[in-house]
C-alpha cells in the first residue's frame, strides 16, 4: 500500500535528531510535527519569525499576531523566541537550523529541486524556499512520487524552473525513501507492500538498488 500524506510525515519524523532546530515547509512537511518520536526534543523554526512553534491554538484562542509561514494560526511553547525576518534568515543562511523539510514539484538525481513556479500557469513565488535550500545542511523532500497526471516527479533533470541545485539529501514519497548520492538516487526503503518494480515504473530517474530493499517501518 502506498503511504498517505500523514504516513509520509510519520516516516520523515523518524529522521528527526534529538536537540535540533527544524524548519518545516507548507503541506506534508507541516504534518511532521504530529509524529515526533518519544525522547526526541525538537524546536520548530518558522521563517516568518518564530522558534519554538507549538500546535494550533484551541478554538477561541487564535491570535492574528501569531502565525506560521503558511499563515496558519499557531501557539508558542515554553522557551520560544520571536524575531524579525532578517534574524530569521540569519538563522537559516547561517546554518543554525539543522534540518529543512519541504515539498517539491520535481527533484533530480543530482539533488536539484523545483518547487516555486510553473511558467505561464502558477506564479506564487519562492517565499523562503530558495534561502532554505541554498543553506541548510540537511534537506529532506516530502512529496507524492508522481504528479496528478501520473508522471514521475523523480527525474534525471528538473524540467521546471529550479529552486536550488545539488541540495536535496533525501526524498520520502508515498512509495519510497530515496537518498541522493553522487551516482544518483539510491532506493533505501519501499512503502509496505509496494514492489521494487512498481517504484521503478513510477520513477523516470535511474534507481540504484543494492540487495534486498527493506520496507519502511510505519
Amino acid at each position: 500500500m502506498a503511504l498517505d500524506k500523514n504516513q509520509i510525515a510519520q516516516r520523515i519524523a523518524q529522521e528527526l535528531e534529538h536537540n535540533t532546530y527544524v524548519n518545516l515547509g507548507i503541506g506534508i512537511p507541516t504534518l511532521v510535527a504530529n509524529y515526533i518520536p518519544k525522547g526526541i526534543d525538537i524546536e520548530f523554526q518558522s521563517e516568518n519569525g518564530v522558534l519554538g512553534m507549538g500546535p494550533f491554538p484551541f478554538e477561541g484562542d487564535e491570535d492574528p499576531d501569531l502565525i506560521n509561514a503558511g499563515k496558519q494560526t499557531i501557539t508558542t511553547l515554553d522557551g520560544a523566541a520571536l524575531f524579525d525576518s532578517a534574524t530569521s534568515f540569519a538563522m537559516i543562511r547561517g546554518q543554525h537550523v539543522q534540518l529543512t523539510v519541504l515539498g517539491a514539484m520535481e527533484v533530480s538525481e543530482n539533488g536539484d529541486i523545483a518547487n516555486w513556479k510553473i511558467p505561464g500557469k502558477m506564479v506564487k513565488g519562492m517565499g523562503g524556499a530558495m534561502d532554505l535550500v541554498a543553506s541548510a545542511d540537511n534537506i529532506i523532500v516530502a512529496m507524492m512520487h508522481t504528479n496528478r497526471s501520473g508522471e514521475s516527479k523523480i527525474l534525471k533533470q528538473c524540467t521546471l524552473p529550479i529552486t536550488g541545485i545539488n541540495c536535496v539529501k533525501k526524498v520520502v514519497t508515498n512509495l519510497a525513501v530515496l537518498e541522493v548520492t553522487e551516482k544518483g538516487f539510491k532506493l533505501l526503503e519501499r512503502a509496505p507492500g509496494v514492489s521494487v518494480d512498481k517504484i521503478k515504473n513510477a520513477t523516470e530517474a535511474k534507481l540504484i538498488i543494492e540487495g534486498e530493499v527493506p520496507e519502511m517501518n510505519i
Binding site: S46, E47, N48, G49, V50, P55, F56, P57, F58, E59, D61, E62, D63, P64, D65, L66, I67, N68, A69, G70, K71, Q72, T73, I74, L82, F83, D84, S85, A86, S88, F89, I92, R93, D112, K117, G120, V123, K124, G125, M126, G127, G128, A129, M130, D131, A134, S135, P161, I162, T163, G164, I165
Partner: protein, 233 residues
Amino acid sequence: MVKKIVENVEHALKGVESNMTFMFGGFGLSGIPENAIVSLSKKEIFGLTCISNNAGVDDFGLGLLLKRKQVKKMISSYVGENAEFERQMLSGELEVDLIPQGSLAERCRAAGAGIPAFFTPAGYGTEVAKGKEVRKYNGKPHILETALTADFAFVKAWKGDTAGNLIFKGTARNFNPLMAMAGRITVAEVEELVPAGELDPNQIHTPGIFVQRIFQGNKYEKRIEQRTVRTKK
C-alpha cells in the same frame, strides 16, 4: 527628544506621489499597516512600485491598491493568495519581481545599515541569479544582491511612543523593523501610542531614529488568513 508624532494618517502620508516606491511591512496579513494602506487606496496616486513580502488578498491589504490598478510593479517573495494579482501578472499589466524571502529581508536591512550590496547563496543556479555577479566564498558560489530603498516605508507596530520607538507583538514583527530602517520617510502606525518615557528602553525593537512619523492607528481588523485550531480533548 526628537518628536515624531503626527496627528493622523493624512498627516502621516503627506508627500506621497504617483510613481514613488513604497515598502509595506507584514507577512501575509499579519502586521500590515492597515490604516496607511486604506488611505493610500483612496488617493489619486498611480504607477507605484510596492515592496512587500506578499500582496494581500483581493479585498484586504495591498489587494486594495492592486484592485484600483495603482501598482505598476510589485517586489515580493510570495504572492499566492491574490487572484486579481495573478490575473494582472499573467496578462502583463503588472510587473513583478519575485525574490527570495531572506534576500528581501536582508536587502531592506542592508539599505538601512548603509551596506549597498552583499553576497548570498540563495538563488544561485536559478533564474534569480540572472545577470548577477557570482563569487565563491569558502568554496561555495554566492550571488550579489543590492540594497533596496523606498521613498516611504509603511510599518505597523503594537506599541509606540512619541519619540518613534516601536515594540512589535508576536510574528507581526516580520519585515516591519527592516523596512523601517530602509525607508527615506518611515511612517509607523501603532495600536497604542504612549508618551515618551512610558516604554521601557530595554524592550524597544525599533529605535525611534528609524521612524520619521508615528500616529495612533484605529479600527484594526487584523484579519486571519488561515484560521487553524485544535479541539479540546
